[in-house]
């Protein structure tokens, strides 16, 4: 007696296996990459003009909220949430104004004392209680962090406040870069200011502190 299954059952079986395989591939590849779980806070920046956007960020030695309130991080000016993912329009000029409340820590690689990728190749620095100046290179000894977008070739050193300055003191950095084409551009601080032997633990390895993404579309 022929025990082979009927063609209908075979076709249904093949379809079920194909769907299950598709769901499996989607589950392991697509969902983690684009699912909402990665995004903790997302900013859709209000356009001041179609071609020019201004964003204010602060660097706090301890951000004061969330599961790691004592971790260092870039925060929104309200000091209540972190700009993990920032949406930007393509081919726009973005001016970043960063208030740095953190102290001075020399980078491991002094290469990052050079201002790169900004419009004009410079940044404006206003140290605490000092006048504004435009710099192309910063003395690594007074650096604190960087704002680096490797895929756009942007890296800007952040000056740190002196040890004698009060806790509310901050330096202001201002620079402009161009977003160019659509895509995802990660930004990060390249100075090892986290935990562990190499300083790249904790806030350097978790979204929401010393790194994030620009989504340009």
């Amino acid at each position: 007696m022929d025990k082979r299954p009927s063609p209908t059952i075979t076709i249904i079986g093949v379809v079920v296996v194909l769907i299950a395989t598709g769901l499996f591939v989607w589950g392991i590849m697509y969902k983690p990459a684009y699912g909402s779980s990665v995004v903790i806070n997302r900013w859709v920046v209000t356009h001041q003009s179609p071609k020019h956007i201004t964003i204010r960020l602060d660097i706090l030695p301890a951000i004061g909220y969330g599961p790691h309130a004592d971790w260092i991080g870039y925060t929104a000016p309200d000091h209540k949430h972190s700009p993990n993912v920032i949406d930007l329009p393509k081919n726009s000029d973005v001016t970043l104004i960063i208030h740095n409340y953190d102290s001075q820590t020399a980078p491991r690689n002094q290469y990052f004392s050079l201002v790169q990728g900004t419009i004009g190749g410079r940044e404006q620095v206003t140290p605490y209680k000092e006048s504004t100046r435009t710099v192309q290179v910063m003395n690594p000894q007074v650096m604190s962090h960087t704002f680096t977008i490797p895929d756009l070739g942007v890296s800007v050193p952040m000056m740190g406040v002196g040890d004698n300055a009060p806790a509310t003191a901050y330096d202001i950095m201002k620079f402009t870069f161009r977003t160019h084409g659509a895509g995802k551009y990660r930004w990060q601080c390249i100075v090892p200011c986290g935990f562990g032997l190499y300083g790249f633990g904790g806030p350097m390895q978790e979204l929401g502190y010393m790194d994030g993404l620009f989504v340009v579309s």
Binding site: R108, N109, Y111, L114, V137, P150, I190, L197, M204, L207
Partner: protein, 270 residues
């Protein structure tokens, strides 16, 4: 069985010729943009060329037997096995031995060839890995440091590779250059690039949150263009005062200190 042998031989021969032609025209990854890639590519192709007849023979035998000697109707008799043939066994062993020895010799020779510098003098370029960024120093040009890797074509190059934090792996896939970047260790890769191209340097060692983003632009240019770019970049780094902030060139920098400067000697003891 009469007539099957010649028939199998003809099918095998024709299929082998087709597969070998496909291998010749099919694009094999990596290309031959550098002396090293050309050597490795040639070895891979040789493996395919030698392996193809064996691969085809196995499949021809399998399919031929499945099709020609399939069960027809309700056969009940078991097939009678043929006795072993000593000449065939000897030929099989001798052929396998010859192929393995030939490929081992070819591979060893190529490995030796691609691991040595392809002439002198060498242009030294230091590759520095850090989470998650590649930077490059050129000791022949005042120790200047850049984020783009520029290399001249047809010039023997020594990449002096190190890391400032965790272990990375410097990988120029198109040119088949891959070497670990280890903190406190100086590793070397030689190269001789033959093509003008724009490629990406990537990290091939899982090194943290943004490992997947750790790539940087690489350009190979003519010798004249390279010298012109290098002199211009060195002049810029001198003019801006940036060069004076860089540490003295060294083959390794010590990550245990939070700076580029080597620590006192006692930190290096085991």
């Amino acid at each position: 069985m009469r007539g099957h042998g010649p028939r199998i031989a003809i099918i095998w021969f024709v299929a082998t010729v087709i597969v070998e032609i496909l291998l010749i025209i099919a694009p094999i990854p990596m290309g031959s943009g550098s002396a090293r890639a050309a050597g490795i590519n040639q070895t891979i192709l040789m493996l395919f060329y030698v392996g193809a007849p064996i691969f085809v023979f196995v499949w021809v035998m399998l399919l031929y037997n499945v099709i020609v000697f399939r069960a027809r109707g309700r056969e009940t008799a078991e097939p009678v096995p043929r006795p072993d043939s000593n000449p065939i066994l000897f030929l099989w062993a001798a052929l396998s031995f010859t192929i393995v020895i030939f490929l081992a010799g070819w591979g060893t020779f190529t490995l030796h060839e691609v691991s040595e510098p392809n002439g002198h003098p060498l242009l030294h370029i230091q590759v520095i890995g850090q989470q998650w960024f590649w930077s490059y120093r050129y000791p022949s040009y005042g120790g200047m440091e850049t984020r783009k890797l520029y290399v001249p074509i047809n010039t023997p190059i020594e990449f002096d590779i190190t890391s400032l934090d965790v272990t990375h792996s410097f990988w120029l896939y198109r040119w088949d250059i891959k070497e670990d970047a280890v903190p406190g260790v100086h590793t070397i890769a030689y190269a001789d690039i033959h093509q003008i191209a724009r490629i990406n340097a990537v990290c091939n060692e899982l090194c943290g949150l943004y490992h997947g983003y750790m790539h940087g632009p690489v350009r190979s240019v003519s010798k004249t263009d390279f010298v012109s770019w290098a002199k211009k970049t060195e002049a810029f780094e001198k003019r801006t005062g940036f060069l004076k902030y860089l540490p003295k060139f060294s083959y390794v920098y010590y990550p245990s200190s939070n700076s580029f400067t080597p620590p006192p000697p006692q930190d290096q003891s085991p």
